[in-house]
Amino acid sequence: MSEQVKDAILLASMPKSLSGKEFTYCPGCHHGIVHRLIAELIDEFGLKEKTLLVAPVGCSVFAYEFFDVDGTVAAHGRALAVATGMKRARPDMFVLTYQGDGDLAAIGTAETIHAANRGERITTVFINNAVYGMTGGQMAPTTLLGMKTTTSPYGRDPKREGYPIHIMEIMKALPGVAYAERVKVSKPQDVPKAKMAIKKAFYAQLLDVGFGIVEVLSTCPTNWGMDPVEAGKWLDENMVKEFPLGVYVDKVTEVMKEKGVK
């Protein structure tokens, strides 16, 4: 193998900002892909020594152990309040929250909306897999209509459980938001696009423009009861219809141009 490596150029390997600790996620879960993208960006921006990561309660409760950066885990839903406290106390640090749909869009809705509306210089990566993963597949605020979960066993009925909540569309109404984009990582081609979106959300903070958030539509093969490949297809066919991909807010690109940042 070493002979082989000598004749080759390294294209892609584990980013330095990951701790190397094995992820605790189920096989095929998209969390790991998004972790890797964030770590690559921390490496590329040289932010490892400046980053403070706030993990949520949920499957990614251990996220702070997977990254080789300083971090903490917030109470359920409070990541953006914790991050606000960090950023206000240490504006020179790069503060990142990583949150799921139950955390960010149900119990933590107030924190999400107010941190965004204040334009906190924080970058948030929001994993939307339409289900509560860690607690075993209960209905999430983003569960699709008709979708069966352990607490909507007859399928989500809007008369009973209301509608899936659209966070990116809400972000659009908040003046403090500098960047908001919804992406997915279910196909290889999606992954560089998702990385570019998260990069813009990094710039929202780094160029002092405002709050940056990227929603990543993700699979939960375990709680959806599908194999990982099938779950990806299900996401493409169902979730994207409910949660249209695209850029919802972008005040960053212009500032990047002004400042000559590529």
Binding site: S19, K48, E49, K50, T51, L52, V54, V61, Y64, E65, F67, D68, V69, D70, G71, T72, V73, A74, A75, R78, A81, V82, A83, T84, G85, M86, K87, R88, A89, R90, M93, A110, E111, H114
Partner: protein
């Protein structure tokens, strides 16, 4: 150190916090403490420090968690229902070992209650309303000068033991005006370093985290034991109380905070009637000065507790007295302030029994 100036209670606590090196203040309006939050909104920017009004008490306490985790001195002020909302976050901060100072300006409850002075938060502040095995050092001042001293002390205790600390106040203390002498502001560079645990960025060292979480019960138990060890130290080193005319006392009245102050008048009135009364005023509610009260109880027949509650500190008094004396109780509820005369009347009734 300067001359004495007339200040309001809320301002005294706020100014003391600033002089203690409080760098970040988060708060949410609630009567009867809003003036303290307003004071900080005015003063913190003048000092180049951070004031932020949060969207709720729930957010406030979590913002404090964040600010404390990066190593700065942080405070908030709230009143009873707001403190209830902060309990979850305080429990997280306790296990994550994050120092912070909370001021609870206690009002009448339960529920929305009213906005008058009360001590009905004793259970939720001193015994902990949050989940899990944790304690909070709690200080109950009875004058503004003492409030200044204890506020500054609270920051030092918080840092020394890495724990949230509470100043137990009420609207009476907040609204009163008294001459107060403030110490010189602390030089921030002289505060003890938090570099060994705070999240300052993984520069020249391994990445670290601050957390209240451990999925392994054996590991979590170790974290719990660190807390318990800390509390034993706090109990050994941080007990504070005041005694007034206890040397020859035949009856002891136990009262804390502003009620302690009222009881001083009762003691004087009782002595005029020939009753040798004395006041025992716990200043640290946790750690409660059990041993000293226990000693005093050996020499008297009556240890009467007076509170603006239905009898919450009373349980700690009974634990101290352990049946060595009678432990009657007199309290007013819902924000009604007892007068020295009615306390005396209650005492006389007990003596005649």
């Amino acid at each position: 150190m300067g001359e004495k100036i007339m200040v309001k209670g809320t301002e005294a606590i706020g100014e003391a916090a600033i002089r203690a090196g409080c760098t970040v203040y988060f708060g949410y309006p609630i009567t009867p403490q809003s003036e303290l939050t307003e004071y900080m909104a005015r003063r913190m920017p003048q000092e180049g420090r951070v004031f932020l009004q949060a969207e709720s008490e729930v957010s406030t306490v979590n913002m404090m968690y964040g600010a404390s985790s990066v190593g700065v001195r942080v405070m908030t002020s709230t009143s009873s229902p707001g403190f209830s909302l902060m309990q979850e976050g305080i429990s997280y901060m306790a296990n994550a070992r994050l120092p912070a100072v909370f001021v609870d300006v206690v009002r009448g409850g339960p529920g929305l209650g009213d906005i008058q002075p009360s001590q009905g938060d004793y259970f939720q502040v001193v015994k902990g309303g949050g989940h899990g095995d944790y304690r909070l050092p709690v200080y109950s001042p009875s004058s503004l000068q003492e409030a200044v001293k204890l506020t500054i002390h609270a920051f030092d205790v918080a840092d020394k033991y890495r724990t949230p600390v509470v100043i137990f106040a009420d609207g009476m203390l907040g609204q009163m005006m008294e001459p107060v002498e403030f110490p010189d502001p602390v030089d921030l560079s002289t505060l003890p370093s938090k570099d060994d645990w705070a999240l300052t960025g993984a520069r020249g060292r391994k990445a670290r985290y601050v957390t209240s979480f451990n999925i392994d019960p054996y590991e979590l138990e170790k974290m719990n034991l660190v807390l318990q060890e800390t509390y034993r130290k706090v109990e050994a080193e941080e007990k504070k109380w005041e005694e007034f005319m206890t040397e020859d006392a035949e009856v002891i009245i136990v009262a804390h905070g502003t009620v302690g102050r009222i009881v001083k008048s009762t003691v004087k009135m009782a002595r005029e009637k020939g009753i040798k009364a004395g006041l025992f005023r716990p200043v640290s509610l946790y750690p409660f000065p059990y041993e000293r009260l226990s000693e005093l109880a050996e020499k008297v027949d009556i240890v009467m507790t007076v509170e603006m509650s239905a009898g919450q500190m009373l349980e700690d008094v009974k634990l101290a007295v352990l049946g060595k004396a009678r432990t009657p109780f007199y309290g007013r509820l819902a924000g009604v302030i007892p007068t020295p005369a009615e306390i005396l009347e209650a005492l006389m009734k007990e003596i005649r029994r």
